[in-house]
C-alpha cells in the first residue's frame, strides 16, 4: 500500500512539475558536488536561468562581505560560460579580494547605480542580455513585481541572477520580505574558520549557510568552506561539518585518500 502510495505521489509530483514548468525549457543546474546539498535542490543542483536571493543578518546586512563572498563562489563556475556582471550602489567591492578567492575579478563587469530603481533596471537589462552568464546585484528589496520581471529576464537567455540583499549604511531597516519570486533564498553569515592543525593564522573562509526557501526542494542548513584546490573541476564551495576539530580532520583525510 505504502509503495503504491509513494508511486502515485511521484507521478503526481511529475505532473505538477510539468504544469509548473509550462512552456519553459527544463532548466540546467549547477551541482555543488555533495549529495547532502544537491538532494535538497530541485534537479540536483543550483537551478540556472533563475534568480536567487542571498540575505544576511545583523551588521552584515550593511557590510555584505560574507554574502558577497558566497555569491561570488556560486557564480564562479558560471564565469566560464559567459560574462559576469555585478550591479551595486556602493563601489566598495575589492577586485583583489575577489581574485584571492579564485574569482576572475578582472573580467567582472562592475556597474554602479544611484538608487534602487536604477539597480533593478540594470539587473533586468543585464539578465536579459545574450552572452551574460550570471548577474550579481546588491539591492535593498525586490518586491513581487520586480521579482517576476527579473525571472522573465532570466528566461530570455538563461542567465542566473544572484541578488544580495544589502541596505545602505545607517539606513533604517526594512521589513523582512514576505513573498518573493526567487527560486531559492539563502541566509549567509561568516563562520569561524579552522586553520589546518599546527598552522598559525586564519583558515580558509567558512560560511554558515541556511537554505530558507527553495521551490520544488527542501530547506537545509550547512557549513561551507572555500575549496582552495578547486581550480576548474570541483565546486569552489566544500561542505564541512558544523563542529570543527577531529571531524574536519577526518573529512580531510577521506578526501585526500579519494
Amino acid at each position: 500500500m505504502s509503495g503504491s502510495r509513494a508511486a502515485r505521489l511521484a507521478v503526481l509530483r511529475d505532473q505538477v512539475a510539468t504544469l509548473e514548468a509550462g512552456t519553459r525549457t527544463p532548466s540546467l543546474v549547477q551541482p555543488f558536488g555533495d549529495p547532502r546539498v544537491d538532494d535538497c535542490l530541485p534537479g540536483g543542483g543550483l537551478p540556472l536561468g533563475r534568480w536567487h536571493e542571498i540575505v544576511a543578518e545583523g551588521m552584515e546586512t550593511e557590510v555584505g562581505a560574507a554574502a558577497a563572498g558566497f555569491g561570488a563562489m556560486l557564480a564562479r563556475p558560471l564565469a566560464a560560460s559567459g560574462a559576469v556582471i555585478w550591479v551595486m550602489r556602493r563601489d566598495d567591492l575589492y577586485a583583489p579580494g575577489l581574485e584571492s578567492l579564485g574569482f576572475p575579478a578582472r573580467r567582472l563587469i562592475q556597474v554602479r547605480v544611484r538608487d534602487e530603481a536604477q539597480a533593478l533596471m540594470a539587473l533586468e537589462d543585464a539578465l536579459g542580455s545574450a552572452g551574460v552568464a550570471a548577474v550579481l546585484g546588491e539591492t535593498e528589496d525586490v518586491d513581487l513585481t520586480a521579482g517576476r520581471r527579473l525571472q522573465l529576464a532570466c528566461e530570455k537567455h538563461g542567465a542566473t541572477g544572484l541578488i544580495l540583499r544589502r541596505r545602505p549604511f545607517g539606513g533604517p531597516a526594512r521589513k523582512a520580505a514576505t513573498g518573493s519570486a526567487a527560486a531559492t533564498r539563502w541566509r549567509v553569515s561568516s563562520a569561524a574558520s579552522h586553520p589546518p592543525p599546527g598552522e598559525p593564522g586564519l583558515g580558509p573562509p567558512r560560511w554558515s549557510v541556511a537554505l530558507e526557501r527553495c521551490r520544488g526542494g527542501r530547506p537545509g542548513a550547512w557549513f561551507f568552506e572555500w575549496n582552495e584546490e578547486a581550480d576548474h573541476g570541483p565546486h569552489p564551495l566544500r561542505m564541512v561539518p558544523g563542529l570543527a576539530g577531529d571531524e574536519l580532520a577526518a573529512a580531510e583525510r577521506v578526501r585526500r585518500i579519494a
Binding site: G69, D92, P96, E99, S100, L101, R106, A191, S193, G201
Partner: protein, 552 residues
C-alpha cells in the same frame, strides 16, 4: 580717409581691358563695392554711387558683387590652408590667420614655409601678402600695411626658436582678365583697391620674435584694426603712426578713444591675449531632417531619430565604416538647440541600436513650441569591416556582441564611468592596487599577488577602531568597530605596507606613515583587515588603529 597706400609703390600697370567695378545694392542705392586701378585712376572709390561713377567714367564695366560667394571661397581657401597648419582662422572678408607654432620646421623654416604658401597661392591666381609675427595683431598689421620695400628684403631674416607664431595672410585677389567668372576666382573683390601689387617680387615678411614693436612703429594707426570712428579721430589729432601712440599715457587714450585702441595696441605688441576662432572642417558624417510643421511629440522625435540613424548608418555601411559617438541635435523653433549624445564601446552602425539608445535620452528634450530641425552627426568614425557570420564559434561571437551592447546601454543610461572593469596597478598600497578600466577591452593583464590575502570589501576611508592589545606589537585582543565590541579569536600578520614615499613631499615621509596590517577573526566568525598606522616608539605620534576592509 585717404589710404596712405603703402602697397602701391612701384605698381606695374594693370593689364586688364579697362575700368572694372563690382556693384552692390546698399539700402536701395547701387554703390561700388570694389574696383580696379583703372577704375580708381579717374577718382572713383568704393562706396560711391554707381550713377555718379557712370557719369564720371562712362566706359566703366560693372558686374554684380556676390559677397556670399566670396565668403564661401574664402572658407574653401581656409580649409585648403590646413595643409600648412591645423589651426586656420578666417579674418574678416579678405584674410586668413594661420597659427604656425611648431609647424614651420616641416618646411625648414618660417621663410620657406611662407614662400611655399605664397607660391602656391600665386599659382592658383590668388595674389597675397604674408607676414609672420608673434601676435595676430602684428602679423595683420604687417601683412596689410607694411611698405612693399620691406617685404623685398625679407630673405635676410633667419629662423629662430618659436614661441607662438601667427601668420596672417592678407589675401589680395582680383577678377581675372575675363570678368565673366570673376565671382569664382576672386576671393575678395573688396580689395581690388590693392590690386596689381607686385606679388611675384614680394616675399613673406618675417618679424623677428619679440621685435614686433619695430615694424609696427612706422605703420599707420589703421594697422591696429580700429573701427573707422576711432581711426578718424586719431588721424584728426595728428596721431598717424603707431609709434606716436605707444608713448602716450594709456589712461587718457582710453578716455578719449575708448578701450579698443589700447586693447588693439596691446594685442599687437603681445601684451594682451587674443583668441582666434579657428575653423575646423565639418564632419562629413552628418544628416539632417527639417519639418514644415514643428514636432512636439516624444514618439515623433523617436521616430525621427530612427529615420536619421537609418540614413546615416546606411551611408556608413556603404563606405565600410562605423562610429563610436553620435550626437543628435534638436533645434527648437525659438532657436534653442538640445544636443543628445550617445557613445558606443565598439564602433557600430546599427540604426536599431542607436534608436534604442537615443529613445530614453530624448525625454530630456523640451520641445517647447516644437522642434523644427533635427541633425544627427557621427564622430570617431573608423573603418569597420562588414560583419560576417562565422561558421565556427558563432555563438561566442554573438555573446560578445550582446555584452558590448549591454555595456553601451548601461553606460548611456547611468553615465560615463558607471560601468567598468577592475585593472591591476603595480602598487602595494591597497587602495591603489586596482583601478577602473573600460568594461570592453581586449587585454586582460596579469593578476594580483595570490599569496597576499585581500578583503572582499575595502572601505573607501579606513574607520578608526578602539583596540586593546597585550603587547605593543601584537594584534589586538579586543576591538570596537561601529559601536560593537569584538573579541579576536584568530589573528595573522603583520603585513607591513609602507606608503609610496615618491608621491609625497619630503616632510611627510617617515616611520609614522607605515601601516602594519593584520587579519583578525572574531568569535562570531567575522574576518576583518585592520592596521596600525605608526610605531609605538614615536612618543609624539602614538600609533592609531584602523579597520580597512572586511573579508568574506
Amino acid at each position: 580717409m585717404p589710404h596712405p597706400g603703402p602697397l602701391r609703390g612701384p605698381v606695374p600697370p594693370h593689364k586688364g581691358e579697362g575700368a572694372l567695378a563690382l556693384l552692390i545694392t546698399d539700402r536701395g542705392v547701387r554703390r561700388l563695392y570694389a574696383l580696379n586701378d583703372a577704375a580708381r585712376a579717374p577718382g572713383l572709390f568704393a562706396g560711391q554711387k554707381a550713377t555718379d561713377a557712370a557719369a564720371l567714367v562712362p566706359e566703366l564695366v560693372t558686374h554684380e558683387a556676390d559677397p556670399d560667394a566670396d565668403a564661401a571661397a574664402l572658407e574653401a581657401l581656409c580649409d585648403w590652408c590646413v595643409r600648412f597648419s591645423p589651426a586656420v582662422a578666417v579674418d574678416g572678408r579678405d584674410g586668413l590667420f594661420l597659427d604656425i607654432s611648431g609647424v614651420s620646421h616641416l618646411w625648414a623654416g618660417e621663410q620657406a614655409m611662407a614662400d611655399d604658401l605664397l607660391a602656391r597661392l600665386c599659382a592658383n591666381g590668388i595674389p597675397a601678402r604674408i607676414a609672420v609675427a608673434d601676435t595676430a595683431g602684428a602679423a595683420w598689421a604687417c601683412a596689410r600695411h607694411l611698405p612693399s620695400s620691406s617685404m623685398e628684403e625679407g630673405p635676410g631674416m633667419v629662423v629662430r626658436p618659436l614661441r607662438r607664431r601667427v601668420s596672417a595672410i592678407g589675401v589680395r585677389a582680383m577678377p581675372s582678365s575675363s570678368p565673366g567668372h570673376g565671382d569664382h576666382t576672386t576671393t575678395q573683390p573688396s580689395s581690388i583697391e590693392e590690386e596689381g601689387f607686385p606679388y611675384p617680387t614680394l616675399r613673406a615678411f618675417i618679424c623677428p620674435p619679440g621685435a614686433q614693436a619695430g615694424p609696427l612703429a612706422t605703420l599707420p594707426v589703421a594697422a591696429l584694426r580700429l573701427d573707422e570712428a576711432a581711426a578718424a579721430q586719431l588721424a584728426r589729432l595728428g596721431l598717424t603712426r603707431i609709434e606716436r601712440l605707444i608713448g602716450l599715457p594709456r589712461a587718457q587714450l582710453t578716455r578719449r578713444f575708448g578701450p579698443q585702441v589700447v586693447l588693439r595696441l596691446d594685442q599687437a605688441l603681445g601684451q594682451a591675449r587674443e583668441a582666434l576662432v579657428f575653423r575646423r572642417p565639418p564632419s562629413p558624417w552628418i544628416d539632417r531632417l527639417a519639418f514644415a510643421e514643428p514636432l512636439s511629440q516624444l514618439d515623433d522625435l523617436v521616430r525621427v531619430a530612427g529615420d536619421l540613424a537609418e540614413r546615416l548608418c546606411e551611408r556608413l555601411r556603404t563606405e565600410g565604416r562605423g562610429a563610436r559617438r553620435f550626437e543628435l541635435i534638436c533645434c527648437r523653433a525659438d532657436g534653442k538647440a538640445f544636443p543628445v549624445q550617445v557613445g558606443l564601446s565598439v564602433a557600430g552602425r546599427d540604426a536599431r541600436v542607436l534608436t534604442r539608445l537615443f529613445a530614453p535620452k530624448l525625454e530630456t528634450v523640451d520641445p517647447g513650441f516644437g522642434i523644427e530641425v533635427v541633425t544627427l552627426s557621427a564622430e570617431g568614425v573608423e573603418v569597420l569591416s562588414a560583419a560576417q557570420g562565422r561558421l565556427d564559434n558563432s555563438r561566442a561571437a554573438m555573446a560578445e556582441e550582446g555584452v558590448a551592447a549591454l555595456v553601451d546601454r548601461l553606460t548611456n543610461r547611468l553615465g560615463e564611468g558607471a560601468v567598468w572593469r577592475a585593472e591591476v596597478v603595480e602598487s602595494h598600497v591597497p587602495e591603489r592596487a586596482s583601478r577602473p578600466a573600460p568594461a570592453i577591452s581586449a587585454s586582460v593583464t596579469a593578476g594580483w599577488d595570490p599569496d597576499r590575502p585581500r578583503p572582499i570589501r575595502l572601505l573607501a576611508h579606513p574607520e578608526a577602531i578602539a583596540v586593546m592589545a597585550k603587547l605593543p606589537d601584537d594584534p589586538p585582543l579586543l576591538f570596537t568597530w561601529r559601536g560593537q565590541r569584538r573579541r579576536v579569536r584568530l589573528a595573522e600578520g603583520p603585513e607591513r605596507i609602507a606608503e609610496e614615499w615618491w608621491r609625497k613631499p619630503v616632510g611627510d615621509i617617515g616611520p609614522g606613515f607605515v601601516r602594519d596590517y593584520y587579519r583578525v577573526e572574531d568569535e562570531a566568525g567575522g574576518r576583518f583587515w585592520i592596521f596600525r598606522a605608526g610605531l609605538y616608539d614615536d612618543a609624539d605620534n602614538p600609533p592609531r588603529w584602523w579597520l580597512h576592509g572586511v573579508f568574506a
